[in-house]
Structure formats: C-alpha cells, structure tokens
Amino acid sequence: MDGVFDLGGKQGFGPVDRTHEDEPYHSQADARAYALSVAARGERAYPIDWFRHTRENMVPTDYLTRPYFDQWLQTVVAMAIDAGDVSLDEVISGKAKALSRSANPMSVADVRNMLTSPASFEREANGTPAFEVGDSVRTDERGRSGHTRLPAYARGANGTIHAYRGAHLLPDAGAKGEDVPEHLYTVGFAARDLFPEVDNDDTIYLDLWESYFVSA
C-alpha cells in the first residue's frame, strides 16, 4: 500500500537526532510499551506481516509522530480488538468486562524460549528460481496493493541479482494469513538509477521476492 511508513528516499527530513542513543530504552514508558507489545501477542502466533500491515494502517500523523514502541503497542491492541480478544469499548473505557477468552498469557518460560529461538521464514521452494546471480531484473513500477515489501523508491527500477536467498514466506500473502513461499533475492541497485541527484557509484541493496519483478 502507499502510506507514510514507506519512508525511503522521502525528502524534507532534517538531521538525525542521536539523543538517548546509548540506552536500551529512552524512558520507562518506552520499556513498558516494548514489553507489552511483545507479551500481549500471547499464544497467538500472528503472522509478522499482519503485525506490520496493522501498524501501516495507523492514522498517518500517529505513525510519523508517536514513539516507536508506543506504535507497536497500539498495533498489538488493534490486532487484539480485531481478533476479538478485547473489545474496543473495554480499551476506550479502560475497564475489563470479563477475562479474555484467549487468556493464556505468555509466561516467563515462554519469553526465555523466544529469546533463544530464532524464527525461520524459509520454506520448501515451489519450483526453481527464475533468476541467477548477475541477472538483470526490473521491478514493477506500480507496486502492490495491500501489504508489500517493495518500497516506492525502488519501483520501476533496474537492478542486478546479488544473491539468491531461498524461498521465503511472501509478506503480501502473510498479511492475509496465507503461507506462500516464494524465491527471495538480494538485488543491488545503482544509487544513481534510483535518485536523480546521485553522482557516485554507491549501491543500494534490497531483499525482494520474485513476483516483485517484471520481465525486462
């Protein structure tokens, strides 16, 4: 979808603010918001791209102005309302009417397990990859409706396959609750091909799925 979250290459932003860069959390509220947003997913294994897409659907001014983990927390609450684990009325009033039907909260043991268990998003490939390292590819210039991971700045752009990464779950499908493995590549784009003012030989690399390409 076209939204304010798709920030790559957008202009008008000022210097990078390095305040609080050496502390893991910049405030107590930030720490609580982080912990709540990971713990409140509970036993629900929401697809990561449904989480991302729900965040992308925040009110745009909230997305651009609210603290990062505050956004995560509101996203998880929105997902819980959507799935019926808590009602909008309860959230707005701050008063629980009853225990949630899916009240089986993440335990400390679950947390320890998650902290040491990396998730894999690679799946059995469906067919052989269409491209090899060194091949030229062109990305779709229209992008995709719904959740997708082709940023606007790299649409309609010519790049070169830098690496093949196996078949990974397609985010566009994951945001719809579907598991669709698709070939994933790291693609290098000459910065000068992406942005008109660039006059150097720098390269921007993106990880892109096969269906994001059009035939050259």
């Binding site: 290459g9 603010d17 893991p24 982080y34 509970g42 659907n57």
Partner: protein
C-alpha cells in the same frame, strides 16, 4: 476469533484509538497495561522478563564479541560471512531476528550501512535494542538517498574512492556490519578487541575504530 486480515477494519480501529486513548504516551501505555493484565492477556512477570533481557543480557556487546572473534579467527570469519546465523549460534547468541542474519564486511574500498526504510527491522539478538535514531523517520528516509550526508552527521567522512553499500532490510534477513580492525592492536586479546567495537560500527554509522575505543 481469527484475525480478519482486513486493512479497512484495522484502520478504523486505529482511528478510534487515536480519538479516545489518552494523548500522553506514558498515560496511554499505563492504561493499556492495566487493561491487558486485567483481561488476562499479559502476565506482569513476562513484561519484566522482556525488559530485563534487553537491559542486562542482550546488547551490542554480543555483536562486538562476534566481530573480535572474526578479526582473530579466519575460519570463524569465513563461517560468519557465509552464514552469520549459524556462526552466532556457535557462540550461543542465536535469538530474536537472527535466523537469517547476514554479515557484511567493511574494507579499504567498501563501507556498509544498514537501514530498514519500511519499518525498523534490526538484529536484536546480536545488537540489542535499536537506538532511537535508527527507528526515526529522518534516518529511514535519508539513509538510502543520502547515505554520505547521514554519515557526515555521525562524523564519518567517506572518501570518494570508497563505495558505500546500503542494505535496506526489506525481508527477514538482518544485517550486521563487520568493521575493520584498527591498526596497532596486534597483541590484544579477543576481549580487549571486543571492547573497541562500537554498536554504531556494526550498523555502519561509525567507520574508523580506534585503540581508545572512542
């Protein structure tokens, strides 16, 4: 109920939350915490466990130990560059967002910089919590379009002859930069070398490490 996977529905929920939740972030977080605990959706002990893990245990010291080992053990470095997820697992560091970790190496001719323009993906297991600037609009917008300008703000000057490679984390791959070993460190232990490696050097907003660690 299962999630609806309906963009319009969650957008509408967000609009309600925007209008009705406390506008002050700390109050908003507090209100949501007490409700989620009351609903039985959150165990307060689990909240403390998450916070403590990234305060006490998991942070950029892990990444620094990986880099220092790569500097001193060529076989490990080869494994790290080939499959960083497996290499850090050898050191007991596998964890959140490390399943598809990639290590990219700085050289005299190449400088690497990591960003996630679409959200703020970050290799938590190896670098801990991302610094606020990494998650900020300014960095996400500018790192791909003006990486040399961003680096200059961090005090990093890149010679024209050095190629900048920016890695935009658009999939579940996560990137860490292996900075160059500083000169004059031949006799140092792995532990002493690790103390020289900064968090920013593993994201790419710091280039020239020094013996003083600054």
């Amino acid at each position: 109920m299962e999630p609806s996977y309906d963009s319009e529905k969650v957008a509408e929920i967000h609009r309600h939350l925007h209008s009705h939740l406390p506008s002050e972030p700390a109050l908003r977080v507090k209100a949501l915490e007490s409700l989620l605990v009351e609903k039985g959706l959150v165990d307060p002990a689990a909240l403390d466990a998450w916070i403590e893990a990234y305060t006490e245990e998991i942070g950029p010291k892990r990444g620094a130990m990986v880099v220092a080992r790569a500097w001193t053990d060529p076989d490990f470095k080869a494994r790290l560059l080939a499959d960083a997820g497996a290499a850090i697992d050898e050191m007991g560091f596998a964890g959140q967002a490390s399943g598809h970790l990639q290590a990219v190496e700085n050289t005299d001719a190449v400088h690497n910089l990591v960003v996630c323009t679409l959200c703020s993906c970050y290799p938590f297991a190896i670098l801990g919590m991302a610094p606020p600037w990494y998650k900020a609009n300014e960095y996400r917008a500018r790192a791909v379009r003006d990486p040399r300008g961003v680096l200059a703000e961090f005090g990093v000057g890149i010679a024209d002859a050095v190629d900048v490679r920016v890695w935009d984390s658009t999939a579940e791959l996560r990137y860490m930069v292996v900075p160059q070993r500083p000169a004059g460190t031949d006799g140092l232990s792995v532990e002493a070398l690790a103390a020289l490696v900064t968090r920013n050097s593993m994201i790419g907003t710091h280039r020239d490490l020094t013996v003083s660690g600054a």
